[in-house]
């Protein structure tokens, strides 16, 4: 059993606090993804779990052991780096078996374990090549192979796919997903790519400025974001934000008003509002549908369209100058400059008490 438990974990470099008290409970066998914009501390947090960075404050447990001062090799973790970190002068076989060589494992056992890892990753035919003769995806597979032979309780991935091209990234993403099913080990995966996060994770941890914004199942986060940041960070294109005025409140609903929208009623989902305050209405582009102007809740002019075949992404400018993005789930031609009417299901809209900052939630 290897749960990973973080209790009020902090990290500072001098006076700069990089991780500001993170609490996390990662269950055994869970695939957890740390996601967030650059500089949010997700890699630092991973490196602290690996033992490559000291923990300034708090307690970290892997299994039942407090590992704050345990050496990396004794934590039962294996790490896959963004830059692969495979040894250029060694063959694939030597690279995969490196940890066993270090531990002076008998040759027969080592060969068996290397062969096993190679079989799992389907790279038996590459064992005698050198890294310089491998493609990026193959190199990353070698790095994963090296991690597998350690039989770790926890796998750590630090943006493993960032150096790969788009097509390969998708393949490797699926392979990592399969690997998780096959091995059943706890995996912690750092990425800034929300697609990787959404597709791979059992649990997503959204980080910003060294603090956890929200942690939970991907669809939970997508459908019920706790705050504006998570709402804006997950989903592509990003969620639209409209500033509205709260004009009346009932038990669990708020009546809001905006010049472009008129009056609507939105569920507050337990969030606290006061009458007269400004709030942010969040609308997913996918939840906006294209309608006749007469039945439209929002209307504006098309400023840009992107036809992707499976969907059409429309940038529309409303009468007050706000830009709205709508993703229509079919291929349809829109003329730039044309009037467009949009509708949405108010039960799928979100209302947040905070207002978007200019640096914003944008991904």
């Amino acid at each position: 059993m290897a749960d990973v438990v973080l209790k009020n974990i902090k990290k500072s470099f001098g006076n700069v606090d990089v991780i500001k008290g993170v609490d996390l409970d990662i269950k055994d066998g869970e695939f957890t993804v740390f996601v967030g914009p650059s500089g949010c501390g997700k890699s630092t947090l991973l490196r602290m779990i690996a033992g490559l960075e000291d923990i300034s404050d708090g307690d970290m447990f892997i299994g039942d052991t407090r590992v704050n001062t345990v050496a990396p090799k004794d934590r039962g973790v294996a790490m896959v780096f963004q830059s692969y970190a495979i040894f250029p002068h060694m063959t694939v076989r030597e690279n995969i078996g490196f940890g066993l060589t270090i531990a002076k494992t008998p040759k027969a056992e080592k060969d068996a374990k290397v062969a096993e890892a190679a079989r799992i990753l389907q790279m038996e035919h590459l064992l005698d090549r050198r890294p310089s003769q491998l493609s990026g995806g193959q190199r990353q597979r070698v790095a994963i192979g090296r991690a597998i032979t350690r039989k770790p309780e926890v796998f750590l991935f630090d943006e493993p796919l960032s150096n790969l091209d788009a097509a390969l990234r998708m393949d490797m993403r699926m392979e990592i997903g399969k690997l998780h099913q096959q091995l059943g080990a706890t995996m912690i995966y750092v990425t800034h790519d929300q697609v990787e996060a959404m597709t791979l994770a059992d649990k997503i941890v959204v980080l910003k400025d060294g603090a956890v914004m929200q942690a939970g199942a991907p669809m939970d986060l997508y459908h019920n974001p706790d705050n504006l940041f998570v709402a804006g960070f997950l989903g592509a294109p990003s969620m639209n934000f409209l500033i509205v005025d709260v004009i009346a409140l009932t038990d669990d609903h708020a009546h809001v008003h905006s010049p472009v929208l008129g009056d609507i009623t939105i569920a507050t989902k337990g969030r606290q509002f006061t009458v007269g305050q400004q709030a942010t209405l969040g609308l997913r582009p996918q939840h906006l549908s294209y309608v006749e102007a007469t039945t439209a809740q929002l209307s504006g002019h098309v400023t840009l369209t992107e036809r992707l075949g499976s969907e059409t992404v429309i940038n529309a400018t409303l009468s007050d100058g706000t830009t709205l993005i709508a993703a229509i789930a079919e291929d349809q031609e829109f003329r730039v400059g044309a009037e467009i009417g949009l509708r949405f299901d108010t039960t799928k809209a979100h209302l947040f008490p905070e207002l978007p900052t200019t640096t914003g939630a944008a991904h």
Binding site: K73, A85, P88
Partner: protein, 363 residues
């Protein structure tokens, strides 16, 4: 359409711009190189009223001829070996064989280089003779110098580089200290070390005397054949070690830090990390350093010129010192040139052997 020739397209102007630099290189590097080869085949002197004449390879023959002879001990009428007052066996004088002896034409003009006892009861004496004993000593001293200096200097420099390659406060002070001797002219350094090695009141003798509470007898380090070359070797290693340290350091810093982290996660010890990560990563640097040190060591001159002038008893003669001594001291340009050419061939072949032995083996 008339094609306009711009400056960059014109071959003539290109050559014109290159000419000053190219001309200097021809005049001071390429021509002297071929002059040296030509002079070594003549009897050219520095200043002479007579025109030089072609001598073929006789300069090389004079330098490199060696011979051997086994001397029978002198015996009295009864056939007993004659011994001198000290009890040593007496042999016929070598000059009987090397001066106009028609039975030994191949030994004409040679002198004893070294010899040893051989045969039953060690009564016979085998003598190795050389036409130019001083040059032979110079060859031997130079090779001794190279064989000791190359590995020691490279090894020490690597150790220093490993020590320096740490993130510690004030580490740059140490870098500067180790590099300082490199910046100072070798002539100045050699002069200072002459004072250190001084037989009467030198720093080294004083320190050794103080450390051993006066038990240590002062040694005239540069004044006796047994210590002179060793003293020059020690001082030479000290002087240039900083230079090679910097080259090692640059090699060390090309090794990706994630490789060290990967090794750390695998539980690699300090020594294993050096063996599997650092040393393979320094391979190209090692080749470079070995070749550079070898070439520099073969060029040993300034230290000898300042500190010992080749003495005592030719114990610090070197190839370059001989070349200059011959060419300018004795005004025998042809002899000096021949020595230069021999040195060139030695260094060239050693470099090629090193290149071959340290080549990349790609399987």
């Amino acid at each position: 359409m008339a094609q306009q020739k711009s400056l960059t397209q014109s071959n003539v102007s290109g050559w014109a711009f290159a000419l000053p630099g190219f001309g200097l290189m021809v005049a001071f590097i390429i021509l002297p190189f071929f002059f040296a080869i030509w002079f070594s085949l003549t009897n050219q002197r520095l200043i002479s009223p007579n025109p030089p004449s072609f001598m073929g390879l006789s300069n090389y023959v004079d330098l490199l001829s060696i011979g051997t002879i086994v001397l029978e001990p002198e015996r009295d009428a009864t056939g007993a070996v004659i011994r001198d007052n000290a009890g040593d066996i007496t042999y016929p004088r070598l000059r009987n064989f090397t001066r106009n002896n028609p039975d030994y034409p191949h030994l004409q003009g040679m002198r004893e280089w070294f010899g040893w006892q051989t045969g039953p009861n060690d009564e016979l004496r085998r003598v190795i003779l050389a036409k130019d004993v001083v040059f032979m000593r110079a060859l031997k001293n130079t090779f001794t110098f190279v064989i000791i200096v190359a590995p020691l200097q490279a090894g020490l420099a690597l150790m220093l580089a490993l020590l320096i390659n740490q993130k510690l406060r004030g580490i740059n002070v140490y870098r500067a200290i180790y590099f300082m001797p490199v910046v100072i002219s070798i002539v100045v350094v050699a002069f200072l070390w002459r004072l250190i090695y001084d037989g009467n009141n030198g720093l080294l003798n004083n320190i050794l005397g103080a450390l051993s509470f006066g038990w240590f007898e002062p040694v005239d380090w540069l004044g006796q054949p047994s210590t002179a070359l060793g003293s020059i070797i020690a001082m030479s290693i000290w002087q240039a070690v900083g230079f090679h340290m910097v080259i090692w350091l640059s090699g060390l810093q090309t090794i990706s830090p994630t490789l060290y982290e990967a090794a750390e996660l695998e539980g690699s010890s300090k020594w294993q990390t050096f063996r599997y990560v650092t040393w393979p990563g320094l391979r190209n640097t090692a080749v470079l350093i070995l070749i550079v040190i070898t070439m520099q060591a073969f060029g040993l001159f300034a230290q000898v010129d300042v500190m010992t002038n080749g003495g005592p008893l030719d114990s610090t003669q070197t190839i370059v010192f001989q070349a200059i001594e011959r060419g300018y001291g004795k005004q025998d340009i042809s002899g000096g040139s021949a020595i230069s050419v021999i040195l060139f061939l030695i260094v060239l072949s050693i470099s090629m052997i090193q290149r071959y032995l340290t080549r990349e083996r790609n399987t």
